[in-house]
């Protein structure tokens, strides 16, 4: 009898828990939406520079957050340029010189192809929940969606952004707006995500606008035109041999 009462109590409490999940639970749900075992995507990056806009097309493969490989398909000047990330190492292959160069040190802070993203941003590999302590700071309606405002503070020294502010969609557990701050409190970057689609049993935004707040310009749009979640990827894709292939 006691067990039945306890079960009933738990069942009654579940909706309450679902309505007010903890910050860690929200972050875990965001991570599980965004991090895939493997993925294959065809994307477009539109870099809105101070002077002109450029569109780059690329095909990317990833395995978790630790391994990624991408190849630029256009424009002609960038065609054939490849990038390989293996853990903490990043290589770039340039077909013009037939050289693969490892990017390290200060170069990691440089922009990727003139975009508002840095190589360091691409290198981030741990789950948000592992790198940050989160607190729910309130609620907001953003882009017509009810969201939680989450404030994340780094609990590791080796993260690029000490603090982050996220607007997380209450229903789909997807971050629709992010602000990335330096330790000094200076706003460094913002990310707007939209066009959230149901892909392979998860919610996934397919359009992003990254904006480096220290740079003039209208930011970098990143569109996922095609994406396959958890496809079988051959191991050689994430090898250095792939760069010169």
């Amino acid at each position: 009898m006691n067990k039945i009462v306890l079960l009933l109590c738990l069942l009654l409490a579940l909706p309450l828990l679902a309505q007010n999940p903890s910050a860690d639970e929200i972050l875990r749900a965001v991570d599980s939406n965004m991090i895939t075992k493997t993925s294959q995507a065809r994307t477009r990056m539109i870099v809105h520079g101070r002077r002109a806009s450029r569109t780059l097309e690329l095909i990317s493969y990833s395995e978790g957050n630790a391994k990624a490989y991408s190849e630029y398909l256009s424009p002609p000047r960038e065609k054939g340029t490849k990038m390989l990330k293996l853990g903490d190492d990043l290589w770039i292959y340039d077909p013009g010189t037939d050289r693969s160069i490892q990017i390290s040190g200060n170069m990691l802070k440089q922009s990727v192809m003139g975009s508002d993203l840095s190589y360091e941003d691409m290198m981030e590999e741990s789950h948000l929940l592992e790198s940050y302590s989160a607190t729910v700071k309130g609620e907001i309606t953003y882009d017509g969606r009810d969201c939680w405002i989450l404030e994340l503070t780094a609990n590791k020294a080796d993260v690029s952004y000490h603090k982050r502010k996220l607007y997380v969609d209450k229903q789909r557990y997807v971050s629709l707006w992010e602000e990335w701050y330096a330790k000094s409190g200076k706003l460094l970057k913002t990310v707007k995500s939209w066009d959230v689609k149901r892909i392979d049993n998860r919610w996934y935004p397919t359009k992003f606008l990254f904006k480096d707040e220290l740079k003039q310009g209208k930011g970098t749009q990143y569109f996922i035109d095609e994406i396959k979640i958890n496809p079988k990827l051959p191991a050689y894709i994430f090898s250095k041999a792939m760069l010169k292939k």
């Binding site: 101070r50 450029r54 340029t81 010189t97 037939d98 160069i101 170069m107 440089q110 990727v112 003139g114």
Partner: protein, 423 residues
């Protein structure tokens, strides 16, 4: 009378030796200090204009805002027609296109993997068509090993960077940077030679390449990062530069268009203006300071001399010489000492300055920690102005010192003179 005073001064060792020594050493020091600072200033202008600022520089307004960062992504695009027009309009200037860029130099090992990397400060100049540029940057005389680039794809690297990365002429390296649109770009180059400019800030990491190679690499064909202008006589003329800047900017620069051209004088670029102003003020303050200190020392010497010659002045007043005349003779003596000390000091100061003007002073140790672009060998610069500027304060301070000390003459009571002389 003057001859009489002259004999009087130089027959009494106590009267001339100490003041003359002070004036001589002060004038010598002041002239040398002027020559040193003038030499430093000239070296700074020479090096800055040669490598970075030109006498004037045309950039886009957006580039001008971030001048120190050398943001070549904000370069002037499709500028060749405009440049042709500017050349006709300002024939007194020599116009030179350059691109300054930062890049990563990657050195491969025998398997093509990165052996070593280093950041370099690149200068893209017209190596193959502009002998004036080669001369201006003194590339031939700066060659340490190898040769000047003879064909596209060849570069010069600073000797220090080459040594650090264990590179020698003939080695192939990859230069990695960003295009004018921000995209990553790489290009292989062969090192044709190594250079040593004698400017530590450059010798750490400079790389010189042909502008056509770099334009292609940075996707800048038809664009110009910076257009440097040099007066054809080789000398920076601030007044003329100001006149040109005023007319050029009024005609071509549009505050509403951040990519319209803007001409900047050497003084308008980075810290150059304030530094040059500071150096000019240093010369003025140094002259004033030296004069004041010298006057105080000589005033003190005059007071001591006055005490020693108390009896003499009393006797001269007692036998009827007027106070004004005694005071006048004292000032004339001071003038003689100031002139003699000044001439000696000027000769010594000029001599030392001329020595360092020919031999130079090795400043490389100090330049290692300095961010200013000055030559490792500093050559003092002597001008008639600096000799006069050292000489005149010497006479003035000697006369002022004597004038202050001699005031005591007027305080003596004629009625008391014999009483004073008896005691």
């Amino acid at each position: 009378m003057f001859k009489f005073l002259l004999k009087g001064v130089f027959r009494d060792r106590h009267r001339w030796l100490f003041p003359t020594l002070i004036v001589t050493s002060a004038v010598g020091l002041l002239i040398f200090a002027f020559a040193f600072l003038e030499g430093f200033k000239n070296s700074y202008i020479r090096q800055s204009s040669r490598f970075s600022s030109g006498h004037l520089k045309v950039v886009s307004r957006a580039y001008a805002e971030m001048l120190d960062l050398k943001p070549y992504d904000l370069a002037l695009l499709d500028v060749s027609d405009d440049l042709a027009a500017w050349k006709q309009e300002y024939p007194q200037l020599e116009w030179v296109e350059r691109i300054n860029f930062g890049a990563l130099l990657d050195v491969p090992d025998e398997t093509g993997e990165t052996r070593v990397q280093g950041e370099v400060l690149g200068f893209a100049i017209d190596i193959f068509n502009s002998p004036a540029e080669l001369k201006r940057l003194q590339l031939e005389s700066s060659l340490d090993q190898g040769n000047l680039p003879a064909k596209p794809g060849e570069i010069l690297l600073s000797a220090l960077a080459a040594e650090k990365m264990e590179l020698k002429p003939g080695d192939t390296v990859t230069l990695m940077g960003s295009t004018v649109f921000g995209a990553m770009t790489m290009r292989n180059f062969t090192i044709s030679g190594t250079v040593e400019f004698g400017v530590y800030t450059l010798d750490r990491s400079a790389l010189v390449a042909d502008i056509a190679d770099i334009s292609e690499m940075l996707d800048m064909s038809g664009a110009s990062g910076e257009i440097l202008c040099f007066f054809k006589d080789g000398e920076y003329n601030l007044r003329e530069a100001t006149k040109i800047a005023d007319t050029f900017n009024a005609k071509y620069s549009d505050p509403g268009d951040e990519f319209s051209p803007q001409i900047l004088r050497l003084n308008d670029q980075g810290n150059l203006g304030p530094i040059l102003k500071m150096l000019d003020y240093s010369l003025l303050w140094m002259a004033l300071g030296f004069s004041a200190v010298l006057a105080i020392v000589l005033w003190n010497a005059g007071l001591l001399n006055g005490i020693r010659r108390y009896g003499e002045f009393g006797l001269r007043l007692a036998i009827g010489e007027s106070k004004r005349r005694v005071y006048g003779s004292l000032l004339t003596e001071a003038f003689i000492i100031g002139t003699v000390g000044g001439v000696l000091g000027a000769a010594i100061g000029t001599g030392i300055s001329m020595y360092f003007n020919t031999k130079g002073m090795d400043m490389s140790i100090y330049n290692r920690s300095a961010s200013m672009m000055t030559e490792n060998y500093l050559y003092t610069s002597i001008s008639p102005g600096s000799i006069i500027a050292g000489f005149v304060p010497a006479i003035l301070s000697t006369v002022c010192g004597a004038a202050l000390a001699g005031i005591a003459i007027f305080k003596r009571e004629t009625s008391q003179l014999f009483k004073e002389l008896e005691t």
